[in-house]
């Protein structure tokens, strides 16, 4: 009962925040639609194993969707709730603030899922980008990747004393994830070593790309995502302060 109410409330607050809606939910889709409007990016290219740039770039936009929400929105909001005494205020009620945290996780997970679906669906509808060809592998890669990113986001929320500090730390993580995820520079333009590191940086753009193209993703990056998720999640749960 109280969790449902909390989810409803947090979802409303998310929807009222124009930045989180526009940037978090729709910017990756808008970028994809914008890039696809450039004819040459819709031509198959030898640089990208003979596929089109927009096909190659779509997984990076999934990285962006998950990263914006999990690494930027989630930790900033949670640290702000601590800073403003909202978590402490809940400790004064019969419902533990862990439920508010759970509600935040649910709302942000749904938001990241929606943002990713918008990328996949708009790409499919507008530019004929095929749907992920190994849906089960893609689902596994997505779930492990998003969990690792959200666990890192929670870790930031746990250590940051203020919303401003959370936003600062989160920006560094977010930009790293974007860089290694090939959002800033397409990965075929990155030095090989950097691109290989990128395979292991959450949420793991290569596993998304492989499973999207119908290949079986490598096991080690998936395992790394699982380890990051468990380690960061457990650490943040242990050190998280309610006030």
């Amino acid at each position: 009962m109280s969790l449902a109410k909390l989810v409803q409330t947090e979802a409303r607050l998310f929807a009222r925040d124009t930045t989180s809606v526009v940037v978090g939910l729709t910017l990756p889709m808008i970028i994809l639609l914008g890039l696809g409007a450039v004819p040459i990016l819709r031509e198959p290219s030898a640089d990208m194993d003979g596929i089109r740039f927009i096909d190659y770039f779509a997984p990076s936009l999934i990285v962006m969707s998950v990263g914006t929400i999990g690494l930027t929105n989630l930790p900033t909001v949670m640290a702000g709730y601590r800073e403003r005494g909202i978590l402490r205020r809940m400790r004064a009620t019969p419902v533990h603030p862990a439920k508010l945290l759970a509600a935040q996780l649910i709302v942000n997970l749904v938001a990241a899922l929606v943002a990713s679906l918008l990328v996949v669906a708009s790409g499919r509808i507008v530019y004929g980008i095929p749907l992920p060809e190994s849906p089960l592998w893609f689902a596994l890669a997505f779930v492990l990747g998003i969990t690792a990113v959200f666990a890192l986001g929670m870790l930031v929320a746990a250590v940051a004393p203020t919303a401003r500090a959370a936003s600062g730390i989160a920006t560094v993580l977010f930009m790293s994830a974007m860089f290694f995820g090939g959002v800033y520079l397409p990965r075929f333009m990155l030095p090989d070593a950097v691109a290989r590191i990128g395979d292991y940086v959450p949420p793991g753009v290569q596993t998304l790309l492989d499973s999207w193209n119908g290949e079986t993703p490598a096991a080690l990056p998936l395992l790394v995502m699982a380890v990051v998720a468990v380690a960061a999640g457990a650490t943040s749960a242990r050190i998280f302060k309610w006030e």
Binding site: M1, S2, K5, L6, T9, R12, L13, R16, D17, Y81, R84, G85, I86, R88, R89, R91, A92, T93, P94, V95
Partner: protein, 302 residues
């Protein structure tokens, strides 16, 4: 009947003793004030009662519940208003009450709370757009939405304008009249004097005195002063002969008579017998401020 019992409560922060052997009881249905300067240990004491802090030693019982052991059960019957706690800026008044209502087994009617707190026109106003006084009233509403038996209100009129303070005081009295026991943490003398049935004066983590507001002032001094401008000359001896009068001073045209017992009546009847009219007659009594200074050796403002 005692609804809250605090015995030998001790809480340290490092080497600092925020609560140093605090003991008192609160009776059901009373407004019990905790008065003291900033940093005296007031908030620490009530946070141990609320179960928001773990005590180092001593015992606390609220309606027979231990705030640490029975935390969840206690919070069903305890309404808490915290100092300096905010809500998300975009959360609306009605939504906040609706949300907090869902945390309790037997919540109050949020509509009635909104009305009685004068927030009727603000249901759809987001928290960030409320004035300081409205935010404070919402915070009181949230403390009451669980239909508590005991409400703990910490510095509830800080930052309010005089009218809002008086309105809040009226509200607190209504809440008490509905059967809720109230602990009021304050550093305002007028608030304590106006609202509290009994007061605990805390200084440096210790209880200095527990008494009614008038009991506290009586402890310090029973002396009263009567000031007036007489319509005709008279000799000081006329008043000094009265057993109630201890001293007579003259301050220009003004006469200041000090003494005890039924001073005013004694002075007034002697003047009347001698056909002297007392103009600008005023009676001065020891205030709670004076009592506080006498009890703690310092002014509450510091």
């Amino acid at each position: 009947m005692a609804i809250i019992e605090v015995k030998d409560l001790v809480k340290h922060y490092g080497s600092q003793r925020a609560a140093d052997g605090i003991s008192f009881t609160v009776d059901e249905g009373e407004i019990f004030g905790i008065l003291g300067p900033n940093g005296a240990g007031k908030t620490t004491t009530v946070e141990c009662i609320e179960g928001l802090r773990t005590r180092d030693s001593g015992s606390v019982s609220v309606m027979g519940l231990d705030p640490e052991r029975d935390a969840k059960e206690l919070k069903q019957v305890l309404g808490i208003q915290l100092q300096e706690s905010r809500l998300p800026d975009r959360l609306r008044v009605g939504e906040a009450l609706d949300l907090y209502r869902s945390f309790y087994r037997n919540p109050a009617d949020p509509e009635r709370l909104i009305e009685s707190l004068g927030l009727g026109g603000k249901r759809k106003t987001p928290f960030g757009k409320l004035s300081g006084g409205q935010q404070q009233r919402l915070s009181i509403a949230l403390a009451l939405v669980g239909n508590p038996r005991v409400a703990v209100l910490d510095e509830l009129t800080t930052g309010l304008d005089p009218q809002a303070r008086r309105d809040t005081w009226d509200l607190i009295e209504q809440v008490r009249d509905s059967g809720v026991t109230i602990i009021l943490v304050t550093h305002f003398m007028d608030e304590a004097e106006r609202l509290c049935d009994r007061l605990a004066v805390i200084d440096s983590g210790k209880i200095v005195a527990v008494d009614t507001p008038s009991g506290l002032t009586a402890r310090v001094s029973a002396e009263q002063r009567v000031r007036f401008r007489p319509s005709a000359e008279f000799a000081d001896a006329l008043l000094l002969d009265l057993p109630e009068v201890s001293a007579v001073e003259r301050n220009g045209a003004q006469v200041v008579v000090s003494g005890g017992g039924n001073l005013l009546q004694a002075v007034a009847s002697v003047l009347a017998r001698n056909h002297i009219v007392a103009a600008d007659l005023r009676v001065e009594q020891v205030s709670l401020d004076d009592a506080f200074v006498a009890l703690t050796g310092k002014s509450i403002e510091n």
